[in-house]
């Protein structure tokens, strides 16, 4: 990464930021919106449903319209792993380098990742309903693994919100993220073995014929959702950075105020005289 600032510069008095937007992020945002619309049109209108003819019976089978969900579901899943991967790397940074930049990044990546993870589960469920005839299929390895992942990071976010020394919380959260990521292969392997035992024959991604417009739409999905994630991450990071700056500022103010707390100054303040050392 390019050299990151050690910590946010304290806000000068009277600064007010009412937006985390910038020219770059607004451009990205507009492009993303346009992209989402295009993706929507392609995925839900212009592409064909997955209809296949059975070679012997001649009957139609396949995922039909449900396949449309996949143009969104698959990119969402990839983005989720990217986001959580970023969180894991940032968490390593928190433990090794201990600067606020890594901490803010880890938190932002975890939040964005969890939003996307939730969407993966929802779109997966919507996709699965017509295909499997249930809202939730315990037999799908990927969906199960994603669910456990979601729960692990829900715990991460809950930990983040506890009160306590911010430094302690950030260190512990980093540990949670790292252990979650290290545990994930175990989760995946155990769920996979479990499914193999029950011999589910379920319709999965692998069956699909992906070419031409379908391929293009899928690629577009990756691009657009990648942009969406970048946009969300950017803003969330900036919010976190500003929060950190505000925190540093309030700590600095508290230190200065505490310094003024000598018996003389306390007395003077009580009778309303400004004391020599006061910044006012």
């Amino acid at each position: 990464m390019a050299e990151e600032p050690m910590s946010p510069a304290p806000l000068p008095e009277g600064t007010a930021r009412d937006t985390t937007g910038s020219r770059g992020s607004r451009l990205l945002g507009v492009l993303t919106l346009v992209g989402l619309v295009v993706l929507g049109v392609l995925a839900f209108v212009l592409t064909d449903p997955d209809v296949r003819i059975h070679p012997s019976t001649g009957a139609e089978f396949g995922q039909f319209d449900a396949v449309r969900m996949l143009y969104v579901h698959v990119p969402l899943a990839v983005m989720t792993y990217l986001a959580y991967g970023l969180c894991a790397v940032a968490s390593l940074g928190v433990l090794i380098r201990r600067t606020p930049w890594w901490d803010v990044m880890a938190h932002a990546a975890a939040e964005v990742g969890t939003v996307f993870c939730g969407l993966v589960l929802v779109t997966g469920s919507i996709w699965g309903r017509p295909v499997w005839n249930t809202w939730w299929e315990w037999g799908d390895v990927r969906l199960m693994t994603t669910l456990v992942l979601f729960l692990m990071f829900a715990g991460y976010l809950a930990l983040r919100r506890t009160t306590g020394d911010p430094r302690t919380v950030s260190r512990r959260a980093a540990v949670v993220a790292l252990v979650a990521v290290l545990d994930l292969p175990l989760v995946n392997r155990s769920v996979e073995w479990w499914e193999n035992r029950t011999l589910h024959q379920q319709s999965t991604l692998g069956d699909l014929k992906i070419e031409d417009l379908t391929l293009f739409t899928l690629m577009l999905g990756f691009l657009v959702l990648g942009m969406a994630m970048a946009w969300l991450l950017l803003h969330r990071f900036r919010v976190g950075w500003l929060e950190q700056a505000a925190l540093d500022h309030s700590v600095a103010a508290a230190i200065a105020e505490r310094r003024g707390e000598t018996p003389d100054n306390e007395l003077r303040r009580a009778v309303g005289d400004p004391s020599p050392g006061d910044p006012s």
């Binding site: 729960l151 506890t162 073995w193």
Partner: protein, 227 residues
Amino acid sequence: MNTLRTVLRDARLVAARDLRIEARSRVVIDQILPFAVLVLVLFGFALDADHRTLRTFAPGLFWVTVLLSALLAIQRSASLDSADGTGTALRMSGLSPVARYLGRAAAVLVQLLVLEVVLVGGLVVLYGVSVEEWFLLVVAGVVAGVAVAAAGTLYGALASGLGARQTLLPILVLPVLAPVLIGATRAFDDALGVAAVDGWAWTGLLAVAALVLTVVGASVHGVLVED
């Protein structure tokens, strides 16, 4: 300075301390064990207490019960050093965090194993289960116990000293232990003759989980208890 022998010696010291405290205060014996048996009974009520059903589900019910009881045991263990300034005194003592972790996890493991033994008895008596492969049962039980103790000690330390500690532990540790639940249940399926699965393969997976969790826990414990 911190040779393996010192670490093991210190770990033994810490484990002995925790077990001695348990022997004195009997929290696991008096409170957690009865809770575990109670959960088995509750499952009986909930599942309409017919032996055939219970026998089929016994392995899963057993491990869910173990996990829930383990939460209590872990919270108890973590609380030993969050009162009376003993946590601070431990930091001052110079005991290595690795030794503290291993000792504590070992003590939790012993308590879990006692729990498992009693619960197997519960399965046999209450659910009419019969054990087909004792060796597999014991090995799987021990290995899964190690994994639970390792993860539990790590997260127990992680969740202590913060606000809302009690409610945080379950949501942090249980998803991480999902593979252990899956694996241990399948291993017990085999050992209790409930289903035709390869219990030993699953035990192998459990062993990997136990190893990973112990190594990670020992490595990371220092970050959690020191500054």
